[in-house]
Symmetry: C2
Subunit: 441 residues, 2 copies
């Protein structure tokens, strides 16, 4: 295996065989191939792509660079969900306990906020005491006991992906579908799942802005999942505006608690029910996605999902008193309404702008080791299609920093487009993909 020849082969559009790819990536992970050769290869992959065979093998190598958790001893079809990330996407917080409450074990390993998007781990950690850094043994015990567990990446899971991702981040090779897919799936396949539901976001607040790219990513992810014998279903959902109303860690947990207690936040719950329906279906607790949705709605209405969430918070060290009475949570020092000085209809929202507005309130990190202000964030009052008056707040900003409030307000004002004519809101769920392909709804 001569590294420069493999770089040249990919550069010239060739397909690397498993016998070429495996020693190449493994030698890189061991430090026997330098970063600069991997960087050149990654950029060649950016331009030339990978075949399905390459993508699967690449995933396989990263998966087996670390621990592959075995949950075979736990009864039931274990199902997880992965979202490609967005603004206000707090679905996992409800979805995991909800699906578990319906009898499907959910082993979930999540990530932190990235760029303008939030991360499930950060949101969970806004619950005082909640620990996401469980060891793999404890992870197994928790899911065995209560049917759901939510932790963060451990150093044992896909270390090759961690090393490659760090390099991609500084060499402009992140935005590449086979590399993204390999990164996601190597971590998901390590969790011990039997099936997977994907929520691939598209729109101004998503990493895949164009729907075609989102569909391509979904299909690549599904191909990998199915190649590993895991049933995989994907949905393409809208990220042209925040999902639900809250953006910010505790604000989002609070919104989830209210929803689990029965409050209807339509777009958020519609996505949650659809994903839950698919997970329940894949978990063999319903005959169809639709039937799964009905079961999920009942689990919210009955309080079973909320109870499972309380159980999860408790077992992972969280203080359930804050869940039972969210008013106990400290309020941020500053809050201000955002108005637009215009009458009309919300025409569009630059959702990445909203994401960055959330970041400057203190809800996200500018640098990897920045501390997070869990109380900071934004609550959205007006979404695309809503009518608005000049003095009517479109959003409220929360922060412990006065500068954060001012900066976020400006960004939000820049993110909103107002139209004189009525505007139709964007679709919420564009369509669904499985191994048979993608179908628009």
């Amino acid at each position: 295996m001569i590294p420069v020849e493999l770089i040249r082969k990919k550069r010239d559009g060739g397909e690397l065989s498993p016998d070429e790819l495996k020693p190449f990536v493994e030698a890189y992970v061991k430090g026997d191939i330098p970063d600069y050769q991997m960087a050149a290869w990654l950029m060649a992959v950016y331009f030339r792509g990978m075949t399905d065979t390459e993508t699967t093998e690449f995933t396989n190598i990263m998966l087996h660079s670390g621990t592959v958790i075995d949950l075979a001893s736990i009864p039931g079809v274990k199902v997880d969900k992965h979202s490609t990330g967005g603004v206000g996407d707090k679905v996992s917080i409800m979805l995991a306990p909800l699906v578990a409450a319906c009898g499907v074990p959910v082993p979930m390993i999540s990530g932190r906020g990235l760029g303008h998007t939030g991360g499930t781990l950060d949101k969970l950690e806004s619950i005082p005491g909640f620990r996401t850094d469980l060891e793999i043994d404890t992870y197994k015990k928790v899911i065995e006991k209560i049917g759901v567990v939510m932790i963060g990446q451990t150093k044992d899971i896909a270390p090759a992906d961690k090393k490659m991702y760090a390099l991609r981040d500084v060499t402009a090779t992140v935005e590449c579908i086979p590399l993204i897919a390999g990164s996601i799936m190597s971590k998901k396949l390590a969790e011990g799942i039997d099936a997977l539901v994907l929520d691939v976001k598209t729109g101004s607040g998503a990493f895949m802005r164009e729907k075609e790219r989102a569909v391509e990513l979904a299909q690549t992810l599904i191909n990998i999942g199915e190649a590993f014998g895991k049933r995989t279903i994907g949905f393409i959902t809208d990220m042209n505006q925040p999902l639900g109303n809250a953006v910010g860690n505790w604000l989002e947990v609070d919104e989830c608690i209210r929803c689990m207690k029965g409050e209807e936040v339509n777009d958020l719950m519609d996505v949650t029910y659809r994903l839950a329906g698919a997970m329940i279906y894949l978990g063999e607790k319903s005959g169809s996605i639709e039937e799964g949705e009905t079961i999920a709605r009942q689990a919210i209405a009955s309080g079973a999902a909320y109870d499972k969430f309380m159980e999860l918070v408790q077992i992972q060290g969280g203080d359930t008193a804050f869940i039972e009475d969210t008013a106990k949570y400290k309020n941020p020092d500053f809050s201000e309404d955002v108005t637009l000085d215009r009458e009309g209809y919300i025409g569009a929202i630059d959702n990445q702008g909203i994401g960055f507005a959330g970041l400057v309130t203190g809800a996200g990190r500018k640098k990897v080791d920045d501390a997070i202000d869990y109380t900071a964030g934004i609550v959205i009052h007006k979404k695309t299609g809503d009518s608005v008056q000049p003095k009517e707040p479109v959003a409220t900003v929360y922060s412990n920093s006065r500068e954060g409030v001012t900066a976020a307000k400006q960004r939000i004002q820049q993110a909103y487009r107002v139209s004189d004519e009525p505007v139709k809101p964007p679709p919420l769920i564009y369509g669904m993909a499985d191994k048979q392909g993608y179908r628009d709804y």
Copy 2:
């Protein structure tokens, strides 16, 4: 200047401004930007190319990373030649003294063999005592005194190119026209030249196999030269078979000595006279390239070129006794004729194969620090279009290694294609390019 943003900009097809390119390359040369970011950028350049402005600025940055020699105090228009390299391309050895003998100062900094191609420095160093590692001060004194000097790359000349080239070599980013052009021109412009003649090779033994690519490289090189105010002319010449008959260091020097003494090796001398004509024309010692050629022929016929060569060998420490009597040179231990066991016409020669055959005789390096067997190599007896009989030698192999002889014979036999029908030899000089563009002959 954020490196990853510049990588992304190039990746997405953007043009880097001088204000972006300069700090990026300079920081890399200083070690403030790591190899992996440069490697990713180079691969992005491979796919996206560079604009003329970028290529010129890139050359400029590499040029000014080291010493730019000033020969303004030496009278006359200083002209050099650069060849993109090939098999049996020994032209420089005759051309530099020949053009100097015609009154045009020739400051020449050459390179070593690369891959299957030979290098002028290695050939010169096959002359016992000949030193190519002169300091820049000595370089200046030699050209001032005798009107010609031939040395190797010094560490002071374009160190940025040296660092970048080493990285390109191991990241499969060598074969990229703007990067090749920048590398060549940053070194040539550092020599102190006023004008430049280019010999861009095309065919099975050249780095640019396709003529279109050779033309593109010639035009890129000319654009750079002219942007720096240096008149630049380029010829596209054939490298589908060795130039002349000898391949190997001393064998080539020996062929040059014979040619300078009046022996006619048609293809070799036709190229030499054409390049000399252009250099004499650019050096303002003739009114046209054709007139320059006539002057050059006279300088060979009169012995002036040979005398200048002797002067050069002497001043650079070479033992002229070996030039005066080439029979004094040690013969290699082994030599064998190569036959093809077929009757017909030489249909084509895989000239890269001939180059590698030369390499396995010991005439070239497999690794950078391999020693060279100066006496080793090949003498070609049959070129494309020649008729051949089964027992008639097409080449003779020379080596101090018996295995080298055997391996080279096999490669030569594989490189020759024999045709039953008469075959027309390939053209020798395809055309000429200058700032007005390229014209086929």
